[in-house]
Symmetry: D2
Subunit: 229 residues, 4 copies
């Protein structure tokens, strides 16, 4: 997979800090934005985020080019509704058997099923290509597996991204979307270090694991983490 | 597929009418709701809807049990973000080869590919079942096609439903989601006749087709429909 | 103020439990909904909620009639965007001076300003009534204070309601919206005891106060509550 | 009022065009974004917008600094829920009587009520300042009128902005928010000429007025505009 930041609100940390100060100041947002020192901006932004006043982090938007993930993964991704998506369409884009790329989980690659997986994928791709000659693409695609590769444009703000990271960097998230999340975070941290300073799985934010008996053990569960629950 | 209304806000037409009157009246919403005659309620609701003041139609919610649609279809469905979904998980639910149901488009059923489609599905299902013995379900599912059957709970309000019908009852929508939409409309019309009185494809609402050269011809395109554009 | 549950999805706990089971079961949502015992339903719903898997709680909706709150309060209320609102309009509804009701904070009622507050309100109401004779209501309303009473219909699902309670039952929330939240919770607990079993301020959910130095002290702050931060 | 574009997704037209092409192309979004000519981009973007396929226009975000509008106006503004807001707080920011600015509708300015409006505002401001000495700001503000001036940061994407313009550039919208919308459009047209090429009231988009008997007459109503309804 290739995950690249395609575009974003310039000065994301400063933009959100200026919004935060707007609540508390007589100055206009524009005056605040232009006159704030970086030090003031980052200190105040850190503070409001630490209190959980996250709405100010909605003013910075990030658009990603995501290439070569499986449809299994994109299906999980688009379930995050506070975001915008445009995905390569299996109704509009037709592939011949040679072009049809797919994702192979490592658990399969390292198993006795590796060769059969590839052979079956090829068989499916060939059947798909043959059907395309007579059947509309929107119907021929019914035979295509979850593994088939797709491209997607994703736009989310910093608040939703941090929420996305909470859920999808968790060890209980599926490995492919966890890898997408890891790469998205790598990209946004370069341009918005304060907004994503503490980005990570829920347990990093909460201080304990909320998953109860399903916990991976990375942090203690709530009942063990809290002194006097 | 089976599409059933599982649950809904009781008295949906009256609820939305009472909300509409709340803007215009000194009485409380509760007083309005309890004292409105059906005639007044329906007349006023029709009027505000005809003006495009649709926000009042958000106060009526509808929850559907949808069973036996393809994953291709559910993937289109969940792209409507102003709604809530809970879907049968391919990470949590495991099927043996005999249980694995799938959808077959009519274009394939009536074609030379019919038998090969079924045979390939069976081959995939058997491979999937064998992998399940050693590979986590979340990875084994990569081989499963878009055609595989799923169940999903969907909750939408009347405003979003009408928008959903505008898009998905259009002849250019894919046949399977068009059928889902048709059945959902059949269900909600029984319990909310006013809210869904004019439900249909966009061209019914607009009076012309917005799809330009892609139009199915059901109604004239904008440039031909309007007298003095 | 008067806060009444106007309408809601019947069987809210069971509806959300059936959705939760849909992820894990081969049965359709409708079969699950109809065959689940209350005991199974409530046990499983409690469990998924405790893990923070809250999306299933979006399938139960609640519509409130709220009467006689100030515009200061309604302005805070409508900032919760994952909800639907229809509010009495100051553009459409005209009041004469005698009809114009307003909210008086207890801090003012018990102070030396009490009488002056009432006198000024009356002066404003009289000026407003006089302007209405010659000025459009949408402009005359510019003189009306935040204190002026309004009615509003609010529809939220159980997930958003619990989030709303987290924020608005906090001692740092303003007293009027805290009272609205308290009454809304009282209403929904009667009909959905499991969904709102643990409803309360954020600190109840988290086990510590997230507000840092602004904390009311009801629970220890994060750094003191966690054993090994 | 002062309305300034504070920040935005760079290359908004190109960003949305690249997203649109992603549905139809084998290339990744990044490759498309980097290799598209302006001519191709703008031509295709115009086309998908004309068909009403508006979701691609969600990938461009715009953040505004809005200064000196009334609370009446900001209350209307924040009702648009698919957007992010951070507003100057009357709980946190205290004004003395001399600082407290307010908006005066032209209908009042040109009327016999002009002087009384100013005098009453001053009286209210003085009472407010006196209360502040002993009453919390969050309660003292109950006396402040809708007219009182506020600042707000607003972030919306191009899709929501066009919808906002449809509603708020309509002659039936209140004059103050219409002026806000007019200035916002002036700002965004400079940087995203294609995305906002046809921005305007609903009647411009539809080709007729949807407001029925409430119509301002700018365009004919639906029943008169359509040839063969």
């Amino acid at each position: 997979m290739i995950v690249k930041l395609l575009n974003y609100t310039p000065n994301p940390d400063r933009t959100c800090a200026a919004a935060a100060f707007t609540s508390w100041k007589k100055l206009s947002p524009k005056e605040i934005f232009e006159n704030l020192t970086d030090e003031e901006a980052f200190k105040f932004l850190r503070k409001v985020i630490s209190y959980g006043h996250l709405s100010v982090t909605e003013h910075a938007y990030f658009t990603f080019s995501i290439e070569g993930i499986s449809r299994a993964c994109s299906h999980e991704l688009v379930r995050h509704r506070l975001a915008s998506y445009t995905q390569q369409s299996q109704r509009y884009v037709k592939f011949n058997a040679g072009e049809l790329k797919y994702v192979k989980p490592k658990t399969i690659e390292g198993s006795e099923f590796n060769r059969e997986y590839d052979e079956l994928m090829l068989k499916i791709a060939e059947f798909y290509e043959r059907m395309l000659a007579k059947i509309p693409a929107e119907d021929a695609r019914y035979i295509l597996p979850n593994a088939v590769s797709t491209n997607i444009v994703v736009t989310m703000n910093a608040r939703e991204l941090n929420h996305f990271f909470n859920l999808r960097l968790c060890n209980r998230a599926q490995w492919e979307i966890r890898e997408v999340a890891r790469r998205m975070l790598e990209e946004v941290r370069k341009v918005a270090p304060i907004l994503f300073e503490n980005a990570g799985p829920s347990c990093d934010r909460l201080g304990y694991c909320p998953e109860g008996e399903l916990s991976c053990g990375r942090r203690p569960v709530k009942s063990k983490a809290l002194r006097n629950l």
